[in-house]
C-alpha cells in the first residue's frame, strides 16, 4: 500500500506575498493547512559576525539594514546598548530628538505594514496611499541625515547633528510642472524641519481616517481578518511574542510604559490593547498606535521648539569634536584622530538594551572585552519569535489565510535572517 503523503506546496522564496525571502513549505489537506514549515536564512548577511570586526560606530549602518522598514528604531537599541556599556549620559535634547524619530519610524513601519497587508489581502490601493505618506516622512529622514531610508543618524552619545533650519525644496520648473505647482508643493517646506513635521502631524489623522474608512468596517476585510491567526494570551507569552502581536491578545506590555527609556516617562500617550488575539485586533491596535505616535510627535515638537541645547555628549573620548575645534585645538585633534582610526575603547562588561520597536521588542546584547570592537553582539529580533509561531497560527486555516497571517505578523526578513 503506497504511503499517502500530504500535498506540499512550496510558498517559495519568490512570491509577492512572502515579504522578503520566506520559504514556507505548506503541507495541505485540500485547502486546509496541516503543517507550515518556514525555512529561513535566505537573507543571512552575517551581521553579528561583521560587528565583531568593526568598531561600534562602523557597525551602526548595519543596524539600519536589519529591519529595513523601521530604521532608526534598530539604531536606537544599538546605541542604547553601547551607552550602557560606556556609562554615557545623553543630553536631553538628543533624547527628545531620538523619541520623535522613533515615533516617526513607528508611523513609517505601520504605513508600510498596512500597505503590504492590504495588498496581500487584495486591496491594492492602500499600498499607494500608504506610500504617499511615507514620502513625507522619508523627506524628514533625508533632511536630518541625508539618506531617505537608511539614515545612520543616531550615534553613541546622542545624534549625529541637530535638526536643520531649512528643508530641501522642490525646484526645477519644467514643461510638466509650472512655477505655481512647484510653489504649492513647497508650501510646507518654507520653515524648519519642525514646521514640516508639524504640518505632517496636522494632516496625518485625516489620512488615518481615510484608511479606516476603506478597511475597518469593510465586510470583506473583516471576513478575511477576524478569527484568523488567533493567539491566546498565555500561548503568546509562551512563544515569546512581543509588540502588537502580544497587545492584540490582550496583554498590556509595552516597553515604553513598563520599562521607560529616554524621555517616554515624560510624555503623554496611550497603549491600545486588543481583546480576541486575532488579526483584526492586531490591525486595530496598529492603526491606533499610528494615532498615538502622532500625539507623541506633537509633544516632542513642542518641547524641541522651546529648548535648544547640545545633541551629542561632550565626552570627546567617545563622541567626535566639532570640525572647528578639531582644527584649532590639539586635544580635539588627537581625539578626532583616535576616534577616526580605531574608535573608542569600551570597558569590559556586558549590556542588553531593548526598545519598543514597531514590531515588538528589539534588543541588542553586547559583550565587551575592553577593546574597540565588541567581542559578541547578539540581536534579539522580534520577527524571529513571530515566525516561529507561524505554524501554530496557521494550522487549520486555508491557503489564503497564510498570506493574512504573514501580513499580520509584520514579517520583515532583514531582522529574521540578520
Amino acid at each position: 500500500m503506497a504511503e499517502i503523503r500530504n500535498f506540499t506546496l512550496n510558498f517559495g522564496p519568490q512570491h509577492p506575498a512572502a515579504h522578503g525571502v520566506l520559504r514556507l513549505i505548506l503541507e495541505m489537506d485540500g485547502e486546509m493547512i496541516v503543517r507550515a514549515d518556514p525555512h529561513i536564512g535566505l537573507l543571512h548577511r552575517g551581521t553579528e559576525k561583521l560587528a565583531e570586526t568593526k568598531h561600534y560606530v562602523q557597525s551602526l549602518p548595519y543596524m539600519d539594514r536589519l529591519d529595513y522598514v523601521s530604521m532608526m528604531c534598530n539604531e536606537h537599541a544599538y546605541v542604547m546598548a553601547a551607552e550602557k556599556l560606556l556609562q554615557l549620559e545623553v543630553p536631553i535634547r538628543a533624547q527628545y530628538i531620538r523619541v520623535m524619530f522613533d515615533e516617526i519610524t513607528r508611523i513609517l513601519n505601520h504605513l508600510l505594514w498596512i500597505g503590504a497587508h492590504a495588498l496581500d489581502v487584495g486591496a491594492m490601493t492602500m499600498f499607494i496611499y500608504a506610500f504617499r505618506e511615507r514620502e513625507d516622512l522619508m523627506d524628514c529622514y533625508e533632511a536630518v541625515s541625508g539618506a531617505r531610508l537608511h539614515a545612520a543618524y543616531y550615534r553613541p552619545g546622542g545624534v549625529y547633528r541637530d535638526l536643520p533650519d531649512t528643508m530641501p525644496r522642490f525646484e526645477g520648473e519644467s514643461k510638466w510642472h509650472s512655477a505655481d505647482e512647484i510653489q504649492a508643493l513647497n508650501g510646507n517646506r518654507d520653515g524648519s524641519l519642525l514646521d514640516f513635521i508639524e504640518d505632517f502631524t496636522n494632516r496625518f489623522p485625516g489620512y488615518v481616517d481615510e484608511y479606516e474608512t476603506l478597511l475597518t468596517d469593510n465586510r470583506i476585510w473583516k471576513q478575511r481578518l477576524v478569527d484568523v491567526g488567533v493567539m491566546s494570551p498565555e500561548r503568546a507569552l509562551q512563544m515569546g511574542l512581543t509588540g502588537p502581536m502580544l497587545r492584540g491578545s490582550g496583554i498590556e506590555w509595552d516597553l515604553r510604559k513598563k520599562q521607560p527609556y529616554e524621555v517616554y516617562d515624560r510624555l503623554d500617550f496611550d497603549i491600545p490593547v486588543g481583546t480576541n488575539g486575532d488579526s483584526y485586533d492586531r490591525y486595530l491596535v496598529r492603526m491606533e498606535e499610528m494615532r498615538q505616535s502622532n500625539r507623541i510627535i506633537k509633544q516632542c515638537i513642542e518641547w524641541l521648539r522651546h529648548n535648544p541645547g547640545p545633541v551629542m555628549a561632550e565626552n570627546h573620548k567617545v563622541t567626535p569634536p566639532s570640525r572647528l575645534q578639531m582644527k584649532e585645538d590639539m586635544e580635539a585633534l588627537i581625539h578626532h584622530f583616535k576616534l577616526a582610526s580605531e574608535g573608542f575603547m569600551v570597558p569590559e562588561g556586558e549590556a542588553y538594551a531593548a526598545v519598543e520597536h514597531p514590531k515588538g521588542e528589539f534588543g541588542i546584547y553586547f559583550l565587551s572585552d575592553g577593546a574597540n570592537k565588541p567581542y559578541r553582539m547578539k540581536i534579539r529580533a522580534p520577527g524571529f519569535a513571530h515566525l516561529a509561531a507561524m505554524d501554530e497560527m496557521v494550522r487549520g486555516h486555508m491557503l489564503a489565510d497564510v498570506v493574512t497571517v504573514i501580513g499580520t505578523q509584520d514579517i520583515v526578513f532583514g531582522e529574521i535572517d540578520r
Partner: protein, 356 residues
C-alpha cells in the same frame, strides 16, 4: 444596408446565392469583431488609467504613436506587439496539445456569445428566439478553458487555481441564471431584442426597478464569473500568483487576457440590455427633453450604460480586498441563490397581478 450589399452582389449574376449569404454574414461578423477587439484592447488601457487615477497616480501616459505621446493611447498596441513576439514556453511535463488548446477554449465562447447580442432593434447578427439561453450556455463553456489550462500546466499553483475557478464559476452560474429567469418572467420572452422592447416607456419602466435585487445579484455574479476582484482567487496575484495562467507566456497568455475582458464587456452589455433598457433613451416620455435628440433611441445610449458597468468593474478592483475562497462559495450558495429564488416568486406574483 446589408440588403443593399446583397442586391449588389446578386447583380453580378455569377455568384452562387450561398456564397452571397455567407459573405454578408462574414461582413457582419467582421463589423462586430473588429470594434470589439479594439474595445477589449482599450479596456485594458482604461483599466490602467482609471485604477491609476484612483490610486493618486497617472496610468500609462508615455507610449504613443509616431513619436507623439498622445496620452499613452499606444499602450495597448505596444502590449499586443510585445506579447506576439514573446517566446511561448511550454513547461516540461505539460501536455502540449491541451496546454495550447486551453486559451482557445476560453476565447471561443467569449466571442461566439456576441452572435446574438442586439445593438439596436434591427442590429443583430442572429436574431434567435432563445438568445438568452444561448448566451448562458456559452458562458458556461468558458469554464473548460480554465480547468484545462490549470490541469495541462502540470504545476501545483495552476492546479489549485483551476479547481477553485471551476467551482466558483459554476456556483455563480446558478445565481446568474436565476437572475436571468426573473428577466425572462418580466419580459415574457428569451429574445434579447424583445426584452429590450418590453422596457419601453421611460426610465421607470426599465427592469432595474421591479427586479432590483436580481439586478444587483446579476452584476455581482457577473464579476464573479469573470474572475475579477473581489472574486479573483483564481488569479490571486498575492496568493497563487496569477493562478491558472502562471505558466503561460506570449500569445496564449494574451488570449486568456482578451477572453476575460471580452467576457467583462459582454456581461456589462447584457446588464445594460436586460436591466437598464438597452438602447432606449432615459428621456423617453419626459415632457421637454423627450422630444429633442436626447429622447431618441440610439446605440450610444447602450454604450453609455455599458460604460457605467465597466467603470464599476474597475472601481471594484481598485477598492475591495479579495474574498477568501470558502467565503466566495458561501456567498454564492447561501446568500445569492436564496435571494434570487425568493425574488423570482415576487416577480411571478407581479406578473400575475399585471404590474409587469
Amino acid at each position: 444596408m446589408f440588403d443593399a450589399i446583397e442586391n449588389w452582389m446578386q447583380g453580378f449574376g455569377w455568384l452562387p446565392d450561398g456564397l452571397i449569404t455567407f459573405s454578408v454574414i462574414m461582413l457582419k461578423i467582421v463589423l462586430l469583431l473588429a470594434p470589439l477587439m479594439t474595445a477589449v484592447a482599450y479596456l485594458t488601457y482604461a483599466e490602467r488609467k482609471v485604477i491609476g487615477m484612483m490610486q493618486v497616480r497617472l496610468g500609462p501616459n508615455r507610449v504613443g504613436l509616431f513619436g507623439y505621446r498622445i496620452w499613452g493611447l499606444g499602450q495597448p498596441l505596444a502590449d499586443a506587439v510585445k506579447l506576439m513576439f514573446k517566446e511561448i514556453i511550454v513547461p516540461s511535463g505539460a501536455n502540449k496539445g491541451l496546454f495550447l488548446f486551453a486559451p482557445v477554449l476560453a476565447m471561443a465562447p467569449a466571442l461566439a456569445a456576441w452572435a446574438v447580442v442586439p445593438f439596436g432593434s434591427e442590429m443583430v447578427i442572429a436574431d434567435v428566439n432563445a438568445s438568452l439561453l444561448y448566451v448562458l450556455a456559452l458562458t458556461s463553456i468558458g469554464v473548460y478553458g480554465i480547468i484545462i489550462a490549470g490541469w495541462a500546466s502540470n504545476s501545483k499553483y495552476p492546479f489549485i487555481s483551476a479547481m477553485r475557478a471551476a467551482a466558483q464559476i459554476v456556483s455563480y452560474e446558478i445565481a446568474m441564471g436565476f437572475a436571468l429567469v426573473g428577466v425572462i418572467l418580466a419580459a415574457g420572452s428569451l429574445n434579447l431584442g424583445q426584452i429590450v422592447a418590453g422596457q419601453e416607456g421611460g426610465i421607470l419602466s426599465w427592469y432595474w426597478l421591479p427586479l432590483l435585487p436580481l439586478f444587483v445579484i446579476y452584476f455581482i455574479s457577473g464579476v464573479a464569473e469573470t474572475n475579477r476582484a473581489p472574486f479573483d482567487v483564481a488569479e490571486g496575484e498575492s496568493e497563487i500568483v496569477a493562478g491558472f495562467h502562471v505558466e503561460y507566456s506570449g500569445m496564449p497568455f494574451a488570449v486568456f487576457f482578451l477572453a476575460e475582458y471580452a467576457n467583462m464587456i459582454l456581461i456589462s452589455l447584457l446588464a445594460a440590455l436586460m436591466f437598464l433598457g438597452g438602447w432606449l433613451s432615459p428621456f423617453q416620455g419626459v415632457p421637454v427633453l423627450g422630444d429633442t435628440f436626447l429622447g431618441q433611441d440610439s446605440i450610444l445610449w447602450l454604450f453609455a450604460k455599458t460604460s457605467i458597468f465597466l467603470f464599476l468593474y474597475l472601481w471594484f478592483r481598485a477598492t475591495f480586498p479579495r474574498y477568501r475562497y470558502d467565503q466566495i462559495m458561501r456567498l454564492g450558495w447561501k446568500v445569492f441563490i436564496p435571494i434570487t429564488i425568493v425574488w423570482l416568486l415576487v416577480v411571478a406574483l407581479m406578473v400575475l397581478a399585471g404590474w409587469l
